[in-house]
Amino acid sequence: MERFLDFGIPGIPYGCAYALFAVGLVLTYQTTGVFNFAFGAQAFASAFVFIVLVQNAGLPIWLSFVIAVVIGAPLLGLIFDRFLFRRIPNTNTTAKVVTGIALLVAIPTLLPVIFGNQTLYNPPTLFFNQSIVYFTLAGYPVNGHDLSVVVVTAVVLSALLVVMRFTSLGVRMRAAVESRRLVELDGGNAGRVVSIAWAMSSLLAGLAGVLLAPAYPELQAQNFITLMVAAIAAAACASLRSLPRAVVFGILLGVVSLLLQGYIPTQTIFYSSALPSIPFIVLVLALLFVPGLRDLGVNKDPMSSVDTPMPPLAAAIRSPQMNRIMRTLWLTILAFFVISMLTWIPANWENVFNSGLAFSTLFLSITMITGMGGQLSLAQGTLAGVGAFVAVQLGNHLGVNMVVGMLIGAGAAATIAIVLALLSLRLKGLGLALMTLAAALFFDSSVFPVHGFTGGQSGVNLQQSWSAPFNFYETSGHQFFILAMVVLTLVVFMVVLVRRGTVGRYLGAIRGSETASAGLGINLTWQRLLVFALSGGVAGVGGTLLVINTQNANPNQFNYQLSLVFVVIVITTGVTTVEGAIQGGIGFVVIQQLLTYVPSRFQGLTVVLFAAGALTYARHPEGIVEFAKRKSTLLLQHHLSGGARLEDQPGGTPGSGGSAQAEGPSGSVARPPLSQSTLGAERG
């Protein structure tokens, strides 16, 4: 019993931290209809500004709090609402998820660009002094931090319950999530209600950020984001609906985690590996068994029938003219690139391009799963890691040649992808994104730290002996370049063949309408497993190429943050086209390399740039870069054809990614009336 209390009681403030974040997530979801992936980043932003104001600008704590939390946090929320989320139709779950993820990766990298690289230690305590023990509970000394977390959680929950249940604002908020248009038809200003909701939930994010910052000796975005993902488990257990249940599950999660810490013997694999993954395992279980989560993101707006249909994940069809122009352009660039790489490009840039080729291969896995399969997977980096580590270990321990190892690694990654697909058979959109994120975090905290598999923090060095018959370590890098080009070309061919084939057509159909696809006799489960497996395999190949190039396989190359960044990159450059992935891969490394020539505070700009691109996803599901290409080729054609109407180009109108069939006659193709067709003609 004593042991129980020793570990159980500290679990309460620990769990309150989860609870506070979980309440924030549920509140945003319930009042705005957005699952706010950026919540952790918002918390970090407020804490960052607060500490900079206190420690660097020397402002008093109360004033810094007012600026960072009371004014700054809601303002950020209002900006998100006004410029991003309000422009996304309620029904477009994927766009909401993508926007949230883009903000999540952009904010922590943008802050150092604005404020300079800051290392912020010992964040100040807000309410009670962290170093003072106020009282002792069953032998546990309750300090100022514990006390403030528990008190604030209780106050916030009570205040929110009062607002949501007993005020007309709360009722209007819930109504606006259900259907903004119905609220407006009833004479309510839905826009203002949603803005207030964003301001409220962002205020909570800011408060949570400043409050929880002292729990860590150094302020790092990573801590807040991990905390948020753990809190997702508590929010998920509450079906993303009930605020009190989110608090209860948050506290339970904290208490159970610490209790297990107390009861599981140290020095065992459960202690070192399973324990950190508890929130992610809980999230997986919640997604599997909490009934309310199966239809996450499913549109419940009674007015949705007047909506234009949801846009496809990305418009895949291009005009044939544009394809011709692009093909010619790409072949020219390719020839120039290959000749240059083998002749005049300096070694450091050759290395950059080589790693770009490896990333391109990895990104093609996102083209397959997201562009072709229509599924948003946030675990592609993880799958790449699985492939890479399997290949490396096979080489190091069994002396397997790396090309063979790459194939076996691809098989291993495909197997994990199939397991992931089986776990998420009933999920789509937000649910699938959460499931894959949980899987990525599970691997980060339980599988990749296993020293025997990944070499831990230092990673595993590749041994030259198993890279025969090639010598990939020669300084010119030509041999790796040739290998990477061959592999990339094969993968490109595979992707193109599958996309043009029956499977690609089926996947196109499933993206458009799962209901109608099943109604035609397409086995959705099988197709889903197939695309997950293919995509996992390609990720494994890409991951192996990546570690061959760096000559070291390290878990940090494949963590969940990178998985998120990868998705953001490919969505920006074009998720439906092969060239989108290649542009993403090369662009990513080239911009990174170019930024090494500017002051270090700007190095996060690579991610910020791509994230900014991904924020346009709702308007340009084909990718902002792809959109720009379509627009410029259309202008070129327009110029060449002496002024023919742009709209006359079939499938090429820029921004027509989701052009609606319900729009009516305008923009529709004219069709003659039905003629007297008969079966006689049919048979003739």
Binding site: S513, S517, G519, Q527, Q661, P673
Partner: protein
């Protein structure tokens, strides 16, 4: 709607649920929470028969369609198609047995062209779609497939638009694409859910002709949900009327329209 006794009125005539029927449902029930959307429906449709299913909004017609095609799992009762029980079968297996359908809210594939819609449907009918064929570049449309596509597109007069992405088509034409997509599979039973909505009067009449022709020349049965009673009267052999999840009348079109229960359901005449 809640609280109605299931199966208060049976329909389907003397052949209701008989083994000769192409499709037979017996006591099919489906509830959503406390709302009983389909409350014990018996109906039977013979080969080559066009059966009209009409009723006011919320009568449970589309839910019944979804239960038959497998999009919803029915809570009780049995559904048989060509003598095979459909209970527990997933949607795609029911489709492969020979059930084609169109949807009340149009369900097309915005990324595909009109032609690709039909090729997908044609291949799914055969359960085609081996990955190795794609990887060996053996998945290009075959001449026979393209012939079939053209023939069906001629029926609905969409041949000229076959290379157009459906995202560029209007609602009415999307309905025709849906219809063509269902027809290329040569279904034994076509379930058409408000196929005329979005079409003009002339197009609706042509649609009725197409259905009649297919029935006559291919022996295709049609289960037709339609609000345009004029069209229903033109094409159906028999009509059943649903209200509040139950069948309230069955017979020829004129018979059911003369039925007092039907008039009450539509017009709300007090008894």
């Amino acid at each position: 709607m809640a609280g109605l006794q299931p199966g208060a009125v049976r329909a389907g005539g003397p052949d209701g649920g008989s083994n000769d029927s192409l499709l037979a449902t017996q006591g099919v029930r489906k509830s959503f929470g406390g709302v009983s959307a389909v409350a014990g429906v018996d109906l039977a449709i013979g080969r080559g028969e066009i059966l009209g299913l009409v009723g006011p909004n919320g009568a449970g017609k589309t839910t019944l369609f979804n239960c038959i095609s497998g999009q919803e799992r029915h809570d009780g009762g049995t559904i048989q198609f060509k003598g095979t029980s459909l209970d527990g079968l997933p949607t795609y297996k029911r489709a492969r047995l020979g059930i084609g359908r169109t949807y009340q809210r149009v369900e097309v594939f915005p990324d595909l062209t009109v032609e690709d819609h039909l090729i997908v449907a044609e291949r799914a009918r055969h359960g085609d779609g081996r990955l190795w064929k794609d990887l060996c570049a053996r998945s290009a449309p075959r001449p026979q497939e393209l012939d079939n596509v053209i023939q069906v597109l001629e029926l609905v007069d969409l041949v000229e638009l076959r290379h157009t992405p459906v995202s560029a088509l209007g609602l009415g034409m999307c309905r025709l694409v849906e219809l063509a997509r269902a027809l290329i599979r040569r279904p034994d039973l076509l379930m058409a859910d408000e196929p005329s909505s979005g079409l003009d009067v002339h197009e609706t009449r042509e649609l009725a002709n197409v259905l009649r022709t297919l029935q006559r020349e291919r022996g295709m049965a049609v289960l037709l949900v339609e609000h345009d009673l004029g069209m229903v009267s033109e094409v159906v052999d028999r009509t059943i009327v649903m209200d509040l999840g139950q069948v309230i009348a069955s017979g020829t079109f004129d018979e059911v329209m003369a039925n007092s229960d039907v008039r009450r359901a539509y017009l709300g005449v007090a008894t």
